[in-house]
């Protein structure tokens, strides 16, 4: 359903990605593993449309979307450092994508409650973003990315920066959640063990 074909990205003199290709089937969870600096996050940004590749194309359901603006792709991205909107409550963060789709107030409220339950944050709706712990912030970021039901969810080192115990617990939660929602996902990580827990298939880059 998602195909990345022969992608090349250069930043000035440096070639970050060269002829990178990858395919994801519907509902599949794929992990991209490799050392830092190998272009994993760059690939995610190309798929999300935040970065225009110098060559190659991104194909979604048979359509070439390489030139489509980010906001028209419906591809979700969970950022490494969450990037929650600091001027909004937990609810408003999760509701953001739904508001962009002009959904009704009641539909949004229902979906937000559903997602808060899904990520195990019942009753956190009115919290301020800066009052969340590291693990809670990750859960909110995941809920926000899932809310508009993206065709593909991209996860950029989603569990980095957590202590070991919390990390392992969240990895299991995340794996279950992606299966339960049937989400097609592309996960970037430098942790092979984490990849094995969450993903159906692992692709190693930079060897």
């Amino acid at each position: 359903m998602l195909a990345v074909v022969d992608i090349t990205v250069r930043f000035g003199e440096i070639t970050v990605l060269e002829g990178m290709s990858l395919e994801l089937a519907g509902g599949e969870v794929v992990a991209l593993v490799g050392p830092s600096g190998v272009g994993k996050s760059t690939l995610l940004r190309v798929v999300a449309g935040l970065l225009r590749p110098d060559a190659g194309s991104v194909v979604l359901d048979g359509k070439d979307i390489t030139a489509l603006p980010t906001h028209q792709r419906n591809i979700g991205l969970m950022f490494q450092n969450e990037q929650l909107f600091p001027h909004m409550s937990v609810t408003d963060n999760i509701a953001f994508g739904l508001r962009m789709q002009h959904q009704s107030r009641t539909a949004i409220a229902g979906r937000v409650t559903e997602l808060l339950q899904l990520v195990g944050l019942d009753g956190f709706g009115e919290r301020d973003i800066d009052r969340l712990s590291g693990g809670e912030a990750k859960r909110v970021a995941l809920a926000r990315a899932l809310a508009p039901k993206p065709v593909v969810l991209l996860l950029d080192e989603p569990l980095t920066g957590l202590d070991r115990e919390l990390h392992d617990r969240l990895a299991i939660d995340l794996a279950a959640l992606l299966r339960a929602t049937g989400t097609t996902a592309l996960l970037v990580t430098h942790d092979a063990e984490e990849a094995a827990v969450i993903a159906d298939r692992t692709v190693t880059m930079g060897t």
């Binding site: 940004r45 999300a48 449309g49 935040l50 225009r52 603006p69 980010t70 906001h71 028209q72 792709r73 419906n74 591809i75 979700g76 991205l77 950022f79 450092n81 990037q83 909107f85 600091p86 001027h87 953001f96 994508g97 508001r99 962009m100 789709q101 800066d130 926000r144 990315a145 809310a147 508009p148 991209l154």
Partner: protein
């Protein structure tokens, strides 16, 4: 319960601390200056005002409502226009990196620090004569002046807005316009408030530009205060108006401080410079950059060129006649341009020395006193919130009776300039002092320096170079100061801004061209001072200084 260990610990802390006499010794001169030249004059103004008869007389004068109304609406319109016009250059200069960016930033910033009289003269030169004496002209000059505030304050915040935050909004389906509305604008709000407040305060108390461009039909409160004090001899009325203005300003500052606190959020994540990647993006950046450069420099260039024109001829006559006060043999102009240049330079030097001395001592005292320094800190900021005309008026009516009858003394003018400049000097030095890690003095102590020696070797040493820059800033402020000077000036010691305003106010081609010539000289002198001294020191935080 304080045991012997606690007592020993306290004794050691004290022995490691700076001696108790140091802060009072440093603060003595700044406190005397503040009390004698600011608090006392202001109290004198207040006591003049408190008599009910004078309040009644002043408030019932015909035309006052119109003055207040014009002051208010022109500053609201100027502020809104400045915000919307400054927004695009703020974005481009904050987010993009391109060749000539620093030069462009300087081109935008310098007009903000130019004397108001020079900006007024530039717009007299560039605007068609049908615009002279109109509110439009005043507003246009105000926008030109204050765009720098938006570019610097809003740009500073925009530059640290995490790039991924807007990327996150886009992956959630927000179009560029929605990103701006729902993410960027709410996060920029504190800086928008700050910029709006600064611009509002400056335009509300604007004097030079209004005096030159607004004509007699458009007085602001500030202009009206001066008119009453110097032309009508109604000092009581002027005092009432200046207190009214002070009250309004205090209210605006309080309201805006509250609004800014509410909207402030901690931002995580890094922010990246952009290089224009596509050709269209490059063109957009280039277009904005070129537009800024042209709009910001053309009025000044036209002003300079007008000094070479008489009628429709190009001539050096205006420049050649600058040295003489006579138009024709026996007919005096009443102002001597070259003498005013020398007076201005002398006053600037005196004001810079006073401001550097008092401001430097005050900054050292505030930093050394730690939390207890807040009182002096706030006290020294007060003159900043007081319009220059009010400062001048206070000095004028306080020092008019023996043994303090200083009205005729030449140094009252540079003293007024210094008073206006001191807050800027303190603002420039404090961040430098506060950025010194306390461990630096601890290191000096472990190397055998006594607390006082360590303070001299580190704090005082560190502040010397910025102090040079700050005194340059004080000199620039003094060179352009117009409000306080108008009230305090005496025949024979006119400064350049006074001479320029008089020349431009006269009928006839020659005095006008001479006014433009003198304004060009003032422009060059001030720009050189700003660029060399302030620019070289590259002190962030100095930029919000300006001459009033």
């Amino acid at each position: 319960m304080a045991g012997p260990v606690d007592r020993d610990r306290a004794a050691l802390t004290r022995a490691n601390a700076l001696p108790r006499w140091l802060v009072p010794a440093l603060a003595a001169l700044p406190v005397v200056v503040l009390a004698g030249l600011y608090s006392w004059p202001l109290t004198t103004l207040l006591t003049r005002v408190i008599r009910p008869s004078s309040i009644g007389d002043a408030l019932h004068l015909p035309g006052l409502a119109e003055v207040v109304w014009f002051t208010l609406w022109q500053s609201v319109v100027s502020t809104l226009l400045t915000l919307s016009i400054g927004f695009v250059p703020a974005y481009v200069l904050a987010r993009y990196r391109f060749v000539g960016r620093r030069v462009l930033l300087a081109i935008v910033t310098v007009p903000f620090m130019l004397p108001t009289v020079v900006v007024g003269a530039a717009f007299l030169a560039v605007l068609p004569s049908s615009w002279h004496g109109t509110a439009r002209a005043v507003v246009v000059a105000h926008v030109f002046f204050n765009v720098a505030v938006v570019v610097r304050l809003v740009g500073a915040m925009w530059a640290v807005l995490p790039t991924d935050l807007t990327a996150a909004a886009r992956t959630l389906g927000a179009s560029p316009a929605q990103v701006l509305r729902h993410v960027v604008l709410p996060l920029l709000r504190p800086s928008l408030w700050a910029a709006a407040t600064v611009v509002f305060l400056f335009t509300f108390t604007s004097f030079g530009a209004v005096r030159l461009l607004g004509g007699p039909a458009h007085p602001t409160l500030e202009v009206e205060i001066v008119r009453r004090a110097t032309q009508l001899g109604d000092v009581d009325g002027a005092a009432v108006l200046s207190m009214l203005q002070l009250l309004a300003l205090a209210g605006v500052v309080w309201w805006s401080a509250r609004a800014q606190r509410r909207g402030t959020h901690a931002l995580g994540g890094s922010s990246h410079w952009r290089h224009a990647r596509s050709r269209r993006e490059s063109w957009s950046v280039f277009t904005v950059g070129a537009a800024i450069a042209i709009v910001m420099s053309v009025p000044l260039l036209v002003m300079a060129s007008r000094s070479f024109r008489l009628g429709d001829r190009w001539t050096l006559a205006a420049w050649r006649k600058l040295g003489t006060a006579e138009v024709r043999p026996g007919v005096s102009l009443g102002v001597d341009p070259i003498a005013s240049l020398l007076t201005s330079l002398r006053f600037a030097a005196v004001a810079a020395v006073i401001a550097a001395l008092v401001g430097g001592l005050a900054a050292l005292a505030i930093a050394a006193a730690g939390r207890r320094g807040a009182l002096l800190d706030i006290g020294l900021m007060l003159p900043l919130g007081t319009s220059a005309v009010t400062v001048g008026l206070g000095l004028l009516i306080t020092f008019d009776t023996a043994p303090f009858d200083w009205r005729g003394r030449w140094w009252l003018v540079p003293l007024g300039h210094a008073l206006v400049a001191i807050p800027f000097v303190v603002r420039a030095l404090l961040p430098v002092l506060r950025a010194i890690p306390s461990d630096q003095r601890a290191v000096a102590a472990t190397l055998g320096a006594s607390p006082t020696r360590a303070w001299l070797a580190i704090d005082v040493r560190r502040v010397l170079r910025p102090l040079v820059a700050a005194s340059g800033l004080a000199a620039a402020i003094s060179l352009g100061e117009f409000g306080a000077t108008t009230i305090l000036t005496r025949a024979g010691t006119e400064t350049m801004p006074i001479a320029i305003a008089r020349l431009l106010g006269r009928a006839g081609e020659l005095p006008r061209a001479q006014g433009f010539a003198l304004a060009t000289i003032l422009l060059v002198v001030t720009a050189v001072v700003i660029i060399i001294v302030v620019g070289a020191a590259e002190q962030e935080g100095l930029f919000d200084a300006r001459s009033r």
